[in-house]
């Protein structure tokens, strides 16, 4: 396994800029996820790292080796494609053996390694099947095995879970993460699914319009987003425009005064109040400073989501679903409720033009 360095990487298609001066370092054994909406340049970045696309400028390094001009087939990266891209005319075993064959390994040696890696992904019994005879989850594991068996310098995942159903996705997520940690795979993953990124990555790179918005651990990004775009993209968030009124207060554009401490790294341009829905506690009755009428109550099983109108603002609140005998359980639309939060929970961030 190698480390990956991306230096000032830029890709232009005609006049449009897909990736704009990207810098990123992935440590050996680390899983970094590129997260962003479609068209943010994350897939273009991955394709440049794999060697499928030549960058307009900038460099890609594996350890200290500059691979920017190296063709894809000489880069030794192991990629799992969104479509899995299994060869339909080859069995699972032949798919897995393809990379070994390209490396000139003899049949016996290939066979041994194919068996080993298929066992790793628990597919030994399906080695002779063709891709069309396998389920989506099984195809995905063949794609994983095929990428791993060549002992790549870098493991690349392109939206690896997007073609799986929700239940399977949660399982495979954990499985890939466990495998990645156990084998110490340096991994670059591309996803537009924040849950996938938050649960799997050591670090996240939030991208937008070809640029990096923020790099950090999932917790950094979730709890301390640098701007409203990141705050909104990594999880649900109440974002209200306005300005800081005092050391403990923020005034929204509609005149609502909200309590918030100053975070150590708060931006001078901060003009938006960001607060996660689960950081707000809700109580029945018009008590306290902040109260209003419930607009909607949505039961989500273990959690319940409330929409509360206070003045001209709507707050989204997510709480553990209360027991049936708690007073909160009987809250209905139009009922009065009051909201509270720890002054340390909200963040003031710059609004973004998104």
């Amino acid at each position: 396994m190698a480390s990956l360095s991306i230096e000032n990487l830029t890709k232009r298609f005609g006049t449009s800029v897909a990736v704009d001066g990207l810098d990123l370092a992935v440590q050996e054994g680390e899983l970094v996820a590129l997260l962003g909406p479609s068209g943010c340049g994350k897939t273009t970045t991955l394709r440049m790292v794999a060697g499928f696309l030549p960058p307009t400028s900038g460099r890609v390094l594996f350890d200290t080796e500059d691979v920017t001009r190296l063709p894809a087939h000489k880069r030794s990266t192991g990629m799992v494609f969104q479509s899995y891209a299994l060869f339909p005319h080859m069995t699972a075993a032949q798919n897995v053996g393809f990379g070994l064959e390209m490396r000139g390994l003899g049949a016996a040696e290939r066979q041994a390694q194919i068996e080993k890696v298929l066992k790793l992904v628990r597919l030994s019994h399906l080695a002779a099947r063709f891709p069309r005879e396998l389920s989506g989850g099984q195809q995905q594991r063949v794609a994983l095995a095929r990428a791993l068996v060549i002992k790549p310098k870098l493991f690349l995942l392109d939206e690896p879970l997007s073609n799986l159903d929700a239940k399977l996705r949660a399982e495979v997520r954990i499985e890939i993460r466990a495998l990645q940690q156990r084998l110490g795979l340096t991994t670059l993953m591309v996803t537009h699914d924040r849950e996938e990124a938050l649960t799997m990555a050591d670090r996240l790179v939030v991208m937008e319009s070809g640029r990096v918005r923020q790099i950090g651990s999932p917790r950094d990004l979730y709890d301390a987003p640098q701007d409203a775009f990141v705050a909104d993209f990594v999880g649900r968030c109440n974002i209200l425009a306005g300005r800081r009124e005092s050391e403990t207060q923020f005034r929204t554009e509609s005149g609502l005064v909200l309590s918030v401490d100053i975070a150590p790294n708060e931006s001078k341009n901060a003009n938006a109040f960001a607060l996660r829905p689960e950081r707000i506690s809700i109580q029945p009755g018009a008590k306290g400073d902040l109260h209003g009428a419930v607009q909607a109550v949505t039961y989500l099983g273990s959690q319940t989501e409330y929409h509360v109108r206070i003045g001209e603002e709507i707050f989204v609140v997510i709480q553990q679903t209360p027991d049936a005998n708690e007073p909160l359980a009987s809250v209905r639309p139009e009922d009065q409720v009051s909201l509270h939060w720890d002054r340390k929970s909200p963040r003031l961030v710059p609004q973004t033009s998104v």
Partner: protein, 276 residues
Amino acid sequence: MALLVLPACLLVLGLLIGPMALMFRISLNQFSPTQLMIEAFSFSNYVQAAADPYYQEVILTTLGMALLCTALTLVIAFPTAYWLGRLESRWKSLVVIATLFPLLVGNVVRSAGWMALFTREGLINMVLLKAHVISEPLTLMYTPKAVVLGIIAVVLPYMILTIAAVIESIPRDLEDAAANLGASAFQQFWRVILPLSAPGVAAGSILVFVLCMNTYATAVLLGGPRFKMMAPAIFDQFVRGNNWPMGATLAFMLLAVTMSFTIFGSIAFARRYRMR
């Protein structure tokens, strides 16, 4: 729903199966120079034609030409078909029409044009002589080479479009995946693109092979009177010799050879590429 195929079925039955049955019956009749056709029921025409060194040579020439032209067409068509299949442009349909454009010119007209190129005083010799590349005019007309060129020019669009349609259906990801696993451009072609385009190669080759086996105008106009392929030979029997029984016999021999090569070829191909 079954009714939808009725018109086509009736047409094939009336205009293909019917006349062929009639032709087969004729091939069993006897020929006499004075009475032309005599009612009979014998395979002696087949025996006679198969034993005749002249027809043996004609059928071998035809088969050789068809196999050679099919192979050459395949090699020439594949790169273009790949390019066309991978083309992502709003002009794509124009390119497809441009590929089909040569088919708008009939074989006779086209071959006449080739004659103007190939004769001793033709364009090719004129240019080469003027450029001092050659000192004597080349003999191009009435050579098998001219026929091969002429046939390929006719059948190329069929091969290109048939293969391009299959290439189009091969996900591009597969080439990237192969490259990712260490396959060079040639290995990607040889191990992924070629096997997966096998159905298109098979269909295109069969189509082209059948067209080549039945070449008439190109063979007559570019090959000259001494170059004989089956279709002109059959025409000669029917029209020049008035020998319908022998003409019909040769027609069925051509059909039999074409069909057996097509069938055996497809089976061998399917085995090689495990098409299911």
